[in-house]
Structures are given as C-alpha cells and as structure tokens.
Symmetry: C2
Subunit: 374 residues, 2 copies
Amino acid sequence: MPRPFAGAFFVSLRMLVLKFSYAHLHQFAIAVFKKMGCSDAHAELATRALLAADLRGIDSHGIARLSGYVRLWEVQRVNATSVMRILHQTPSTAVLDGDQGLGLVVAQEAMQIAIAKAEKVGTGWVSVQNSNHFGIAGYHAMLALEHNMIGIAMTNASPLVAPTFSIDKMLGTNPIAVAAPAGNQPPFVADLATTTAANGKLELLQLKNQETPTGWVQDQSGDPSTDAHILKKGGALLPLGSDREHGSHKGYAMGAIVDLFSALLSGANYAPWVPPFPAYVPLPVQQPGKGIGHFLGAMRIDAFRPADEFKKDMDHWIEGFRSSTPVKGQPQVLVPGDPERLAELERKQEGIPLHEKVVSELKTLGQRFDLPFE
Amino acid sequence: MPRPFAGAFFVSLRMLVLKFSYAHLHQFAIAVFKKMGCSDAHAELATRALLAADLRGIDSHGIARLSGYVRLWEVQRVNATSVMRILHQTPSTAVLDGDQGLGLVVAQEAMQIAIAKAEKVGTGWVSVQNSNHFGIAGYHAMLALEHNMIGIAMTNASPLVAPTFSIDKMLGTNPIAVAAPAGNQPPFVADLATTTAANGKLELLQLKNQETPTGWVQDQSGDPSTDAHILKKGGALLPLGSDREHGSHKGYAMGAIVDLFSALLSGANYAPWVPPFPAYVPLPVQQPGKGIGHFLGAMRIDAFRPADEFKKDMDHWIEGFRSSTPVKGQPQVLVPGDPERLAELERKQEGIPLHEKVVSELKTLGQRFDLPFE
C-alpha cells in the first residue's frame, strides 16, 4: 500500500529499536497506573489513550511519556485518584474540573459528557480545567465516531511557541483534532499541532543529532535556526506557516483559538502560564487558572441531516481526494488519518517499535514499582 | 501606532487610488442591491457585510466584488428575493437552505439562528446549503460579540487549492473566523484563509505585475512557482504550511474540516464541485449538493463561566501577548484582529481607498442601473 507520509514515523527504525506487542505494553502500562493509585477503570482508560499514540505512529506521545507522567505524580502535580466534577452546565455545554487528574482520563470523561449532551440537544461542548496532558488529541476526537457523531478535541500545552514577531514562548503546540465518520471508507481523522512541526519531531532529530529544516524554529533573538536543541537555548517553535510571509500569523491565531476554548472558557491556565510537562521545571508563578485546559466537542450527524446521506457524501469526498492526480513521485494523495491508520494496521500485526532509550527508561520504571518490563 | 501587518493592505495606495467615504459607498451599494430586487432589509444587510471588508482593509472582498455579485445575479446563480428556510433542527443545531440567496445575507440569518439557540441551550450551530459567497468570515463571527458570545464562521469556496501531494485544485481557500469578546481590550478576532496566502493577495500582485514569494503557489505539475498568474495556467494555491516539510498537510486538513462542516453537514456542494465565483466559469457537472456551504456557530460565554471572569482573563491574555518581547525591528507583537481594527479606525476617518480599476467598474455598474457612482 502507498505510504508516503509514513517515513517520518519510522525514522526510529534506523536506530536500535525493539518491538513489543500491544498486549505486552498494555499490561505494563496498566500495572504502572495502578501502582500510582489509579482505579482499575482509570488505569484502563489511561492506558488505552496512551497506547493509541504508539499504535498510530505518534511515538513521542505514547509509552515514551509514561515515566514523565509518573514523575508528575511523584511531585504531586498529577492526582491519580482524581474525582472529576462538573462546575457549571447548560443543555449543550459544561465545564469540567479534572481535579488534577491524568488528562488521558479526564479528556475521555469530558468527551463522554459532550456525547451525552449531543444525544439530547444535537451537540455537546465541554471545556476542562485543572487537568494534565491528555496524550494525542485524535484519540479523544475518535471516541465520538461510534455514536455517529463528529468529534473535536483540543488542548493547550507547555509554552514552546513564539507568536509571529515575538521572541517569547507564549503558546503550546496546541493541537486540534476532528474525526468524522464515513460509510465504506475509514473515518476522516485530522490531528494537527498548530505549529510547523510538533515538538516530538524535534526530539527525534535530537536523538539522531540532526538539524531541523528551516522554518521550524527560531533562536533567542527570533532569527532563523536549524538547531534541534534550540528550545533549551532560548529559542522557540514557530507557528504553522513559519514566518509572516508564509502565514505564521494564521498558525499563531489557530493556537490562540485553542487556548481560548481550552483555558479561557474553563478557567485553566493559559498562554505562558500553562504548567510544563517536565516535572523538574518549576511551575510558573502567579498562575491565573488551574492546571491545563482541554476542549472537547461532539456533533450528532443527524442533528444536521440523515447520517446515511452524510456518510455517502463523505465516501464520495474521500474517494475524490484519493483519486486526485498526485504530483510526480507520489503514489497517491492522502486523506487526513491515512498515515496513522496504516501505522496502526502494521503495528497491530508486527508490534510497536521502541527506541532503546525508551526501553531502558521503562525498565528503570519497572524496577521502581517492582514490575519487570521484560 | 504600530502597524506592522497593515503594509500589505495598503499596497494599493501606491497605485492610482481614490478615496471614498463609507457613507458614499454604502448609499451606492444599497441602491445596487435594491435594483437587483433585494428587499430594503436584505440590501442593508448585504451592504453592511460587503463594506465591512473595505473598512477592515480586506480590499479583495469588499465593494470590488459588487460587480461580480451582479453578474452572478444576471446568470441567475444568485436569487435576490431568496426565502430562506430551516430544513432540520435540534435545540442546538439547524440546517438552513439559503434559497440561492446572497451569502452576505444568508450567513447573517444563519448566525442569528445560532445566537438564538445559544441563548436557550448554551450554543448554536448552523450549517448552510444553497448559498453564495458571504464576504469576509470575520464579519459574521463578530455578530456574536454584542451578545456576550464567541462567534465562529466558516465557508467553503471555489476550488483553487491543491491538497498536499496533489496537482488538482480540490479545495477553496476555506476561511475560519473566531471572534471572542474581551473586557477593556478590543475583541479577539481571528479571520484566516486556510492557505499560505489568500487569492486576494495574488490579485494585488497581478495588478502590480509582481511575483509571489515562494511557497504560495505551484504550477500545473506541482512544482514550485512564483507566477502570480499561475492559477490561470493550471497551477494552484498551496495550503497553509506551503509544503509537506513545513506542514502543508495541516493547512490541507484545516481546509478539509471547513468543507466538512460547511457542506457535508448541510448538503451543499463540496471539494472541486463548489460553484465558482466568476459568473463566466461554467458550473461543475454532476454537482453533489446545492450552492456553496457555510458553518456558523455561537457559544454563550456564561454557558461556561461568568462572562466578567472570562473577559478579565481575555484582557490579561491580550495584554500578555501585546507586551511580549518583539523581534528586532518590530514595534510590538500583535493580537488577531489588531491590523483590521486599525485599518477600520483609519478608513472611517480618512475614507476607503479604491483602485482606479475598481472605480471604473463601479461607474460601469452605476450606468447599467442608472445610478451615477460619483
């Protein structure tokens, strides 16, 4: 099958990697979450969301982050026994207090609330405060699919991105995901950071000691850079569009919209005050809100038109794009969600490749909890 | 005042331009819409939406398009006496049939429906079929502001954009606008085409016989081009991000999301089947839907949290970005909506500059309807 995008996700294969079955990683991750104090149900939810990243080829957001979540729990920034509650609601909206829980779990609870509201009044929209990183946005958006709904998921994140014309890191990579069901075709699943490149891509280049393409990062003066380590030297990621001439003010605006929906509507921290993911980085002083923020939405298809008509059109839309003329050297034009679905097919059969550094971290983590990794 | 973005909007000032008061253009446009058969109320709504573009510095979408709307009416693609009706609804959603009316009017009706639903159940979402071009998205989104709501507006448009890896024009510039109220600060208003550059910018370069920067367009083979006339030679606009390495698949996904919400949810035409704006371009055969599609949304702030708390945080957010450190040579970091607001302030006082070519077209239009332009 054609797989023109997939190259980037398999870069790590050229380094020393080991492959693990989904079942093996699932068993380990669920055990770790339970050791942290998560209930069986929360451990299962957290594991599914976490490993969805590994399955879908977004290695930076999967089990490679498990140690990071544990470190946040150790410094009491993650509450493994969170009790979420709705702070305010209307028939189509709610604000959810995540009680400092794992975003992996909190976002799923928020999406279930959105889905329940959509069942009743057509759409449901939940803004979340007091949460933590939720893994990949696409997983949460896709929860709506089986209900014949369009799912939407956004989150703000640690400030790494400089707005157009600024040298300060004011926004996270603030992703947006939209999942829409089709008929015979697989669903449309867009899941994108509002930056030119996600931080996970920088981390891959760091591992390989390679430079970034131009237009991904700037240095501490706002000048162009290709140093994959530049974030540690005062540099910043660039919004989608890279520079003003190529529309970086649009990527900046998209990232800002995610911040407004996720944090200004919920009362979470926003902009440079979003708590950082690495547990060793101190929390910003004078935090204006609580934890990090998410925004989850569900729209029932038949709140607009019959689902079968919509799905027929979706198939036609998808087939139209797939059969459009590719540029020379590309086998086929892709539809959002294709690369991740192909990665998932492959990894379910052949296992999930983990870099030796990640394997070593997981072994250390296993020792800490008396849970052998291998 | 600092105006680093505004330069692009005033390029035309260096060519032969004449300035006209808002009142003068308003009087003329409203008379033209009435001659087409619009009711007084529709003529007023259409004029306000159209001239909002001229006021806000988006010259390509304002009165320069009036002749284009008239030509669409002449070939019976625009129905000046449209009777809109709701095809289906739930407490938070509706599908509106625009009856082939002016999008300038239809989108405002859709937004009023969304606002009314948001008053009742917290949010309102209206997908529109059988409409025409609606002017600037930002104007429609801003209608929600006076109701203490966040406004959202999207539309699909004539296919000019090639998806990543394709040479076919499959999507329009499909803009997204989000307007959110603040307290002491002016509102946040993001209004962006999901392409590197909007078609209006190409048109300006064509007038001046200049080339585009790299990354805006590709030629008929999908190779890079800087020819501002390339769309007429089989070329295409590029999605925001320009190329795969700089995230064009994300701009492509954003444009696709706009298409799904505007047309697949409503039953409008989508992808390459969207009716073209120029009246001389034949309609695509085998159209899968009706007219073009929009998507309008309104979210009541206090469906999430008290509006005064939200606005206080919005002020803090906006002040934070404005006071972030600018790169050398830039006086200040801007917030989405700043350039357009500054243009509006200036143009309300000093008049709206129109290129001589536009003035000449308006004079011809005036003769056609026995309405002297000057």
